[in-house]
């Protein structure tokens, strides 16, 4: 793979032991964005929960949605708080609103120049960043200007 956005050595995400978010991570590995949706009221929700916060149904599914979003908020990080990031330099974390999934939000990095202008409301496209050749293989969902 190409170099990941952030230096290697950060903790790798693994599914919750109770399995609640396992389909999400499995989806990312296949290059698909799967989020929770209620079979009873059709509402989307994220993060995952055991029941629908709107109608309290336990009948939830994971449904594929488009990895297209809008920049909801952002931050440029300068001070590293993890050894893996000591030589990283500034990086950008974004909160992305997903209009195709009821407006739920998801966290990722914004690819490209870390000093690029950050504009709330800007359209973003998802980029699946596969970490396959590591001890704990996983996939992150990153974002780029659309």
């Amino acid at each position: 793979m190409n170099d990941p956005y952030l230096r290697r050595g950060l903790p790798a995400p693994v599914p919750m032991p109770d399995g609640l978010d396992a389909p999400f991570w499995a989806g990312l590995d296949e290059g698909r964005l799967l989020l929770q949706r209620c079979n009873a009221c059709d509402g989307w929700q994220w993060g995952p929960e055991w029941c629908c916060h709107r109608c309290h149904s336990f009948d939830l599914r994971y449904e594929e949605t488009l990895a297209e979003g809008v920049l909801y908020s952002h931050e440029r990080v300068w001070h590293p708080v993890h050894p893996a990031l000591q030589e990283q330099g500034p990086y950008v974390v974004v909160l992305v609103e997903l209009p195709h999934a009821g407006g739920v939000r998801i966290v990722g990095n914004l690819l490209g120049d870390p000093l690029q202008p950050l504009t709330i409301g800007a359209p973003l496209a998802g980029v699946f960043e596969h970490h396959r050749d590591v001890d704990v293989p996983h996939t992150l969902l990153q974002w780029a200007a659309a």
């Binding site: 952030l6 950060l10 903790p11 790798a12 995400p13 693994v14 599914p15 919750m16 032991p17 978010d21 929700q45 994220w46 993060g47 995952p48 929960e49 916060h53 909801y72 908020s73 952002h74 931050e75 440029r76 990080v77 300068w78 001070h79 708080v81 993890h82 050894p83 990031l85 990283q88 500034p90 990086y91 974390v93 909160l95 739920v104 939000r105 998801i106 966290v107 990722g108 990095n109 709330i120 001890d135 704990v136 996983h138 992150l140």
Partner: protein, 393 residues
């Protein structure tokens, strides 16, 4: 039906803290610091520590109430409570729990305390050194979003964008804390003044937070002694009454992965109205504000959500002159607060509120009768309290 309220039913009669240290500099372990703070607060109240029959804390304090009670030889333990939630969100919630216990006859003399030795147990400002992560953190930490500053900058950036807030508003909050700390010998930043140029030149931690927008990491402990209002005049210092203390947060504040609906918020939008209702007061009645600074942006939103100014007035309202004792429009964090006195998880702010009412602050607001404390913005639950002099009853 009797009115359901804490207003005027409980008083703070003792307050104290250990010496405050930079993280890792305390000569004592955390539990010893906790004992020391409780003993000092009891001394301030002029009571025998063995008469303490309750303990109330927050943020998963490690100093177990039963162990404290045993270590101090207390005659009995009547009440032991821990407020849910992390950060400093429980600072006033722990006061509320203690006051509720006393007001309902569950306990007679409850100590609210917080002990925190980051040197002994790990710094709050560092990310976790683990190989894998699961749960809500798995959806943020691998993206380099792992410290409190990083969690909250995202909210503050959105708020600043929505309301056109300038960096100078954050700077004013920081400068107010550092200015007040120069009068407070207890403050870790005593003798280390800050000016606007130094603030502007300081490094970014995470935008919009410069170094001086961020709380310290400290070691120490602090404690307050609460009793029923009927007894409040029997102690050495002027009584300071709890006029209100409430906790909580708005609809789905705890929605994971930054999905809380009211995102750009300090979480006080439902808490503050309940606070004022209980106190039968409004923002115009508040003489001095202690507002928890994990980061200055949280203070900014707390000030708005407690009704001291409208969101679009922030740039005009948050000036250094407005925030300084003795004569600013809203003297803020008059001990130096978490930024410049000590990050004792905000309990120092409650203590400073009491000192203002007593007239014992090192940056006194003349004639202060009503002091408000906003604890732990942006987490859930948060909490707020209002303390008042006898004249406010």
């Amino acid at each position: 039906m009797t009115e359901r309220t804490l207003r005027g039913k409980v008083a703070v009669v003792g307050v104290a803290e250990t010496e405050y240290y930079r993280w890792g500099k305390a000569p004592d372990p955390e539990f010893k610091l906790a004992i020391d703070a409780v003993l000092r607060a009891c001394a301030d109240a002029g009571i025998d520590p063995r008469d303490v029959d309750g303990f109330s804390s927050y943020s998963n304090d490690r100093s177990d109430a039963s162990r404290l009670s045993a270590a101090l030889g207390c005659h009995q333990l009547s009440f032991a409570a821990m407020q849910w939630g992390g950060g400093g969100g429980g600072g006033s919630g722990a006061v509320a729990n203690a006051a509720a216990a006393i007001a309902t006859g569950q306990a007679e003399c409850v100590v609210v305390f917080r002990a925190l030795a980051q040197g002994q147990f790990g710094r709050f400002g560092q990310g976790p050194r683990v190989k894998t992560v699961s749960g809500a953190a798995a959806h943020t930490l691998p993206y380099g979003l792992m410290s409190a500053a990083q969690m909250f900058a995202m909210k503050v950036n959105r708020f600043m964008h929505d309301h056109g807030v300038r960096q100078e508003a954050l700077r004013a909050i920081s400068l107010a804390s550092y200015t007040h700390a120069q009068h407070n010998p207890r403050a870790v930043m005593y003798g280390r003044p800050l000016d606007a140029d130094t603030y502007d030149a300081s490094r970014w931690i995470v935008e919009p937070f410069h170094l001086f927008d961020c709380c310290q990491e400290n070691d120490g402990a602090a404690a307050m002694v609460l009793v029923a209002a009927e007894r409040a005049r029997d102690f050495p210092h002027p009584p300071c009454y709890v006029l209100a203390a409430v906790s909580g947060s708005q609809h789905r504040s705890g929605a994971p992965v930054h999905n809380t609906p009211e995102y750009a918020s300090s979480s006080f939008t439902t808490v503050a109205p309940r606070l004022y209702d209980m106190a039968r007061l409004g923002p115009a009645d508040v003489d001095v504000l202690q507002s928890y600074e994990n980061f200055t942006g949280g203070v900014l939103m707390s000030i708005v959500e407690h009704g001291f100014c409208q969101p679009d007035e922030v740039n005009d309202f948050l000036t250094v002159d407005n925030l300084l004792a003795p004569s600013g429009r809203l003297p803020l964090n008059t001990s130096g607060g978490n930024l410049a006195e000590c990050y004792m998880h905000g309990l120092g702010l409650n203590i400073e509120a009491v000192r203002q009412i007593r007239g014992h602050s090192t940056s006194p607001v003349p004639g202060a009768e009503v002091a408000l404390v906003a604890s732990g913005p942006m987490v859930t639950p948060v909490s707020s309290s209002i303390f008042g002099s006898e004249a406010t009853l």
